[in-house]
């Protein structure tokens, strides 16, 4: 059975490394990048089943907000996304559903993220058949 593929887009090296370790340990195939521009390339190449996305990446060419906007209309739209951000509340409560209707935001996890919660949410989405 081919492992499910998870793309991690996170500029904090510690969080990124922890995601790779935890999800890799659970048997997922994981690719991690620190920039939305690189993520766009990986979405085409790696074809993830799930994307973990940090919103704020100040040094990135394309940050998480920019990538989210692209995903709303990109060919990869339909790939489920888990948002990792301290601004999850703002996204969940402040943004109208019509603005994000091209996206599949399946979960919003506030930072600092509990790795246990992260693993649980990823497993839950995969079990639910994020991409059959």
């Amino acid at each position: 059975v081919n492992p499910k593929r998870v793309l991690v887009v996170e500029d904090d090296p510690y969080v990124r490394g922890a995601c790779v370790d935890v999800l890799g340990g659970l048997g997922y195939s994981v690719v991690a990048v620190d920039d939305g521009a690189l993520a766009l390339q990986e979405i085409s190449r790696f074809q993830p089943d799930l994307i973990l996305l940090d919103l704020i990446m100040p040094r990135a060419q394309l940050d998480g907000i920019g990538l989210l906007s692209r995903l709303a209309t990109a060919p990869a739209s339909g790939v489920p996304v888990i948002i990792l951000s301290a601004f999850g509340d703002a996204l969940a409560q402040g943004v109208s559903p019509e603005v994000t209707d091209g996206l599949r935001i399946e979960a919003i996890l506030p930072k600092p993220v509990s790795l246990h919660t992260l693993a649980r949410e990823v497993n839950r989405l995969v079990r639910a058949g994020v991409k059959s």
Partner: protein
């Protein structure tokens, strides 16, 4: 762990230390404000001001030299403003926590500041103890930004980009170029020269653009383009 971040956040996770003070660089172009801030921080045992700056250049130099824990930065500065300072620090690879202290900030500026890495935003009209609380919270690795305003700003941004994408899908590249030139205020003759076509061709393109976008003329197109964020 606290999930709610913002001006109403409690201090439960803030960790002021009696032995290792939080090292601050503070920046404001008003000498009186700068002096008042220095006095305020001097009264708190867990803060030490390592540099007080009046402009962007001094701030960038102080950050390079002192490597503070937190930068307290005004947005409005002579020359480069506070947002430009954040951009410059990102280019430098500087890694420190930033609190914006500002008289006023609109939603767009707030979103931009957060995207550039600001972790806290405090209005000057707020009580001084909130600034201290914000700095301690940010120093502890958390955010201090009003979530409702952040949500509004995110909604506006994503809506604008969605509208822009819709326009982009409806028009050809040439038509989009013409709309951008209209936004810049160019006349048909100027557009014709830039595109190396006749003025009649520009008019023909414009006619198609009006039809596709459902506007009744140049002013309608201009308003729509500005509203949708075409640049």
């Amino acid at each position: 762990m606290r999930n709610h971040h913002g001006p109403n956040a409690s201090r439960e996770n803030a960790t002021p230390s009696a032995t290792v003070p939080i090292r601050l660089v503070i920046t404001d172009d008003h000498v009186l404000v700068l002096k008042a801030l220095e006095l305020l921080f001097a009264r708190e045992s867990d803060f030490v001001v390592v540099a007080a700056c009046a402009n962007a250049d001094q701030t960038l130099e102080a950050v390079r030299r002192h490597r503070p824990d937190v930068l307290v930065l005004d947005i409005r500065l002579p020359g480069l403003d506070g947002l430009a300072v954040l951009r410059a620090m990102n280019q430098d690879g500087a890694s420190l926590r930033v609190v914006l202290l500002t008289a006023e900030i609109d939603d767009d500026q707030m979103l931009e500041a957060v995207r550039l890495g600001a972790a806290g935003i405090v209005l000057k009209e707020m009580a001084p103890h909130l600034l201290m609380e914000c700095i301690r919270t940010v120093h502890a690795g958390e955010k201090w930004v009003e979530q409702k305003a952040m949500g509004r700003a995110l909604d506006t941004l994503l809506r604008r980009e969605k509208d822009l994408r819709e326009i982009t899908r409806m028009l050809t590249n040439r038509e989009l170029d013409i709309v951008r030139m209209i936004v810049l205020g160019l006349h048909n003759a100027q557009i014709a020269v830039k595109l190396c076509v006749s003025e009649a061709t520009v008019k023909s393109h414009l006619h198609h653009i009006y039809e596709k976008l459902g506007v009744d003329g140049r002013m309608g197109l201009l308003l729509l383009a500005q509203q949708k964020g075409v640049k």
